[in-house]
Structure formats: C-alpha cells, structure tokens
Symmetry: C2
Subunit: 387 residues, 2 copies
C-alpha cells in the first residue's frame, strides 16, 4: 500500500490522478488532498477517498466544506495547510499538481520531509530548479515527472548510463498556429488560441502551448531534471503529439517514448514507479495513425522559445522572472488587454530590465517573481504594447 498526498486535486492533473487512484483501492491510499475554492469537487473526492486531511484556500471555503464531509477528516486552510499536506507523516509520495509559483514551497517542504515527488508543477523546476534538485539529491528523494515530455525522457533513460546521454529532444505540438505568418499571429484571439488540437488542458497552458512558452519552460525543467546543458536540449515540432519526447545517446542511437496523447499514462507511472501497472486505456496503433511529422520550431515566429532558452542559460532568478512575466502576459491576453504577439514582447521587456541574481535563495526567487509581475503590468500599461 503506497500512501499519497495530492496537492491541487481539483485541477486537470489532480482529477485524473484521483481517477487513477480510485481503480487501485488496495494498492494506493490518499492521506491528504488540497484545493483552492472548488469545494464541491474536493468534497466529492474526500467522500470517495476518505483522507486524513483536506486543505482549502480560505476560511469561507473551509466552512462550506466542513458541512459536506465526514467529521473524521481534518480541514486546514491556506499556505499552512498546503505545507501540512505536503509533509503529512503518512505520505510517501506527494503529487504536486498545484499550478503556479504557489507550488514551490510545498514541493521544497515535501522534499525536506523525505517524500518522493510526483511533479506536475512547472514552477518548482523553472523558478527553483537548482534548490529543488540539490535538496532532492541530499534527501535521496525521487522526482518523478508528471507531464508527457519529461516522463518520456525519464522512461527512455531507464537502464541507460547517464554518461551516455548526448541530447534530449522535447517534442512540441507546435500549437494551433504553427503554420501562421507573423501577420496572422498578430490577429489571433483568445478564443482561437484556446482550441488545442491534441490535449485537453487548462486555459493558461493552452496559450503557453500556442506561444511555445510551454516548451520553453519544459526546456528549463529538463535542464534541471536531467542535469544537461541547454546546448544539449532540443525542441522538435511534432503536431500529432504521439512521440512524447526522445533522447540521443553518444553512439547515435535515439530512444523515444510514444503513446496516445493521454496524461493518465505519465500520471500512473509516477504513482507506480518502478512498477508499471496494466492499464485498460486504448493502445497506440501507428498503422492507424499512419503518419508522424516533424519540423524545426521557428524562433522568429514564436519568440517565447528563444526567450526561455536565454533566461535558462542566464540562470539565477531569470527563469523565475520569465515565468512570472509570462503568467501576467497570458492573463492580459486572455482578457484581451494585449495581442498574441504582445506576450513575448512583454516578457522580453521584463527580462531586459531584470537585475539577475545568481544562486538565489527561495526568498530571492519569490521576490523576483513579484518584481516581474509588477514590471509586466507596468509595461502593459504603456501604449505600444496594448491591443
């Protein structure tokens, strides 16, 4: 019996994690669940899984939840509650599917407490990769990636000597606009951008997928997860999202992991690793797929990708600034305050003005995040970047 905490159980990854766990009641037990304000979904999960602890974002939500679940379940609130769930004495594996910079502190706390991590929170690695990986090494904690690309790389590297790794090739769907011209990209609306061809995801990540910032953030994550210089991490556009990523080895051999675009596989693997459990979902049939296509990404049309490489290579607080500026810009795009091509322009403006700090503490990182958000908002108030 493996005991788990799920941080952010009502989001897309959280709900799929709960769905998988519900198929294995004899092997997986959830001891803590956390959410923001979606108390109806959280209450349903709590009744189904009967955890020791549930955590919500604020006191009102806690009050509402209390009446909906058994009195035996402890209810906690906010950041303190999130840390309590992340470090719950009974949990062996903590699934961090909280979205955004809020995921960083709980991830670090869980590692400190010696928990293995199923990591779906990008910011923990993008903004705090150095801290997270050094702490994980020190505490002999496994970081099991929960997204299709890093899970693919992780799977390809099983049984391979890390010294034999020559490069990582992350695949990118290329988003819905990969064939657009610069002029067409300027006119993209949020509604168009929210239609992703392959994956069913939240709004923020769907926009990141369309700008290629999602891939840029994944490049930074891969740098930390697999301890590889940016020069050895490539991005390959692959619109069918069947090849989830590849690794190149020193003798020229390339290994790839493939599957239908379905997050349940990487989620389940993170829960069961080093085991693989038989799963009922449909199998990949390449004969039915027929054709897989590949192309180089166009950094001129999708400047978020080179911006991410640049921030990653500079290191320090720069990736945290990249991520925070991107979050603000995407939010502004969704509210139709800036254009699609305005997103990289805002980020570039923020990166240019940032005074980078190397080997940042967690406080430095969070301060850089806050600074970047203010700076992004300031830039977006200036006329040329509107509309």
């Amino acid at each position: 019996m493996k005991r788990l905490a799920i941080l952010g159980s009502t989001g897309s990854i959280g709900r799929q994690t709960v769905e998988i766990i519900s198929h294995y009641p004899d092997s997986l037990r959830v001891v803590a669940l956390t959410a923001g304000r979606n108390i109806h979904c959280l209450a349903k999960q709590a009744r189904q899984l009967n955890p020791e602890l549930v955590v919500v974002g604020d006191a009102d939500s806690a009050k509402g939840l209390r009446g909906m679940i058994s009195n035996n379940i402890e209810v906690m609130v906010g950041a303190e509650g999130l840390i309590a769930a992340a470090t719950h004495s009974q949990a062996e594996l903590v699934v961090v599917s909280v979205v955004g910079a809020r995921g960083i502190l709980p991830t670090l706390a869980a590692i400190d407490a010696g928990k293995d991590i199923g990591l779906a929170n990008k910011e923990s690695l993008v903004a705090a990769g150095e801290l997270v990986m050094s702490k994980a090494k020190e505490r002999h904690v496994q970081i099991l990636p929960i997204d299709s690309e890093h899970s693919a790389v992780f799977q390809c590297l099983q049984g391979q000597d890390p010294a034999h790794l020559e490069k990582i090739i992350l695949t990118a769907s290329g988003g819905p606009f990969r064939t657009y011209t610069k002029e067409q990209l300027e006119l993209v609306t949020p509604k168009e951008a929210l239609k992703h061809p392959n994956w069913d995801m939240g709004a923020k990540i769907t926009i990141d997928s369309a700008t290629l910032m999602n891939k840029g953030l994944e490049v930074i994550e891969a740098h930390w997860l697999f301890d590889l210089p940016y020069e050895q991490i490539q991005v390959l556009v692959h619109p069918q999202s069947i090849v989830h990523s590849l690794v190149g080895l020193v003798d020229g051999s390339v290994l790839a992991q493939l599957g239908p675009p379905d997050m349940r596989l990487p989620i389940q693997l993170a829960l069961t690793f080093p085991e693989r459990w038989s799963a009922p979902w449909p199998r990949l049939s390449l004969a039915d797929v027929g054709s897989l296509t590949f192309a180089k990404p166009d950094g001129k049309l999708f400047p978020c990708l080179p911006l991410a490489y640049e921030a990653g290579k500079e290191g320090g607080t720069m990736p945290a600034v990249l991520n925070a500026a991107n979050e603000e810009a995407v939010e502004a795009f969704l509210q139709e305050r800036i254009s699609f091509m305005g997103i990289p322009r805002v980020i570039e403006g923020v990166l240019e003005e940032h005074q980078n700090k190397q080997q940042p503490t967690i406080d430095d990182t969070l301060a850089a995040d806050r600074w970047a958000r203010r700076k992004a908002q300031h830039i977006m108030k200036q006329p040329p970047l509107k509309g």
Copy 2:
C-alpha cells in the same frame, strides 16, 4: 581490452564489424577471423588485425591465403576451423556473421565454450532457437543481437522489467513492392527486387526483404530472443526504416529505438555492450526526415509473413524447414527459374508436406533442413511453379 572472434568476416556485416574494430585498436582485439573463399579480403583483414587464427572454406583457399599473410598466423580449413575460431581460448565475444545454416553449429559451440555472442546469423535462432537460448541461459552467456530490429528491441528493454513487456512491434521497410498489386508482383524480376530503397545488403536478404520473409524470420528470432508468444509479436510496415522497432509495455507506454538506416550502430553496440561508445557517424535529424509513415503489412500480397508466423507457432523442425525452403526458392528466383510469387508457393508446398518433429536435436534440425531443400527442388521441377 575485449577479445573477439569474427565468423564470416568478409560478408557485409563482417566487413563493417572489422571497420568499427579498426577504430578502437586499444580496446578491441581480434583473435580469429573466418571466411569462405574471399581470400583477398580476408588477407587484408588479417594483415590489419593480426589475429592468431584465420579460417577459410577449403584447402585451395588456405593454400592461396598462406602466401599472403604472416607466418605467425595459424590457418585452418572448413567446419573444423570454424569451430576452432568459435571456441578460441582467447575470445570473449564471438561475432557470428556467417550466412545460413552453417552458422548454427559454431554458435552452439561458442555458447558451450562460454563466449558471449554477437549474433547476425538468423538461422541460429530460426532453426535452433530453443537449443541456442536454453544453452545460453545454462552457460550464462549473453546473446547480443546484430540486426537493427532486434537491437532496437534489446535497447528498448534495457532497464525494463521483462514482466512489463506486452508486445514487440518489428518494423519492416515493406520492400520495393509494398504498393504493388498481385498481378504486378507476379512479374517482378530479380533485377527489380535487388534494388532495396534503404539498406545496402546481400542479394538473399534483399529478396527476403521484398517478400517480407526477412521479417517473418525476424518474428521467429524475436520469439526466442525475448521469450514472447507469437501473438505478442507484431509487424508494422515503415518504409523510411528510421524507427528500427518498438516495444509496448503493460501500461500502454511504447518505447522505440530510432536512427539512420546504418548497421554500424547495432554492430558497435554488440561489441561494446553494456558500454556505448561515442561514434562519429551522422546523427538522425527527424526535422530533416520530415515524415515517418506506418501501415499494416498485407499478408495476402506477401504470404511469406503469415507462413513464417505459422511455422513459428508450430515450432519443432518447422521453422528450419521454412528457412531452408526459402533459401532454395530465393536462389531459384535469382536464377529466374521461378517467379517472385513462386517463392511463397514453393515454401508453402514444402511446409505442407513436412512431418514436424517437436523439441528437435541439432541433428533433427539439420536433417529437416536437408529434407526441405530436396523437397523444394522437387516441387520446383513441377510445371505449375515454374516461370
């Protein structure tokens, strides 16, 4: 320093093996070389590698060779010489790149002598898979496959629990005639069939590639190498020969090994395993390749593939008979004695008349091989299978 014997060093695989070894004089040392009658190539290799022993097919060739190489090198002849090379006291790894049933006894002898095997000889597994694999297990000997498909599967399975293997998917180029109709296939000439789009190979294997018998034999090899029922081994047509094969795991994850169509990679891996050595040859660029396509093989147009599955499932001496009948039929096709579609008809005729023997000894296997050749020749003398 790893010490090697190469059986069949002047064939396509043998020559490429020597080429690779010549780049690593400080790490790889050849102690024995064998060939048939190509004494000029063998003499050149012997002068370059300075082995302890060279073996040729007959006394005349031995006499010719003697004058061309150093007196310090021992020269032996025929089957006895082949066994001496296979069991050479200094060899740790024996590369068996002899073509045909002649490879079986030296492979068994090398395993008996505790040598690891780099196996490029199909017949050792097709005709004697049960014996070879049980002996290898008993003697704790590694069988390292030297062909792109089985090397791909072998690479994908590194670090995976064998219990997690759900299926093997062998890719097939489909040969030059994969888009032909039955009527067009009837008219194929040896000249057309010898043009293989991707791989530079000998005549026999190029024809086998065009009939899909090559893939059928590989299915039987995979059954023995990876200990998997035929129901869990699939064939997928993939004309670009970039994905060298795939494995499906119980959770639906699919792992694949990719690379340019170049035999040097699987050869080098067999020589260096469990190491991988940095190699100078060109890297795969999927962006340059652009598109990979996949299709189900058509067993009606290419009956050799279902015939191989059938013979494999029946087991016993049936796969040896399949292989021998195919060799005779391909030879007859190359001599324009039968048509392209005559090849599977001859094989089917021979299989139908064979009295199968389960758990055959090596003598049973070799007797079945001889019987099948006589039967094939007999069938080919009958009018309906001519032309």
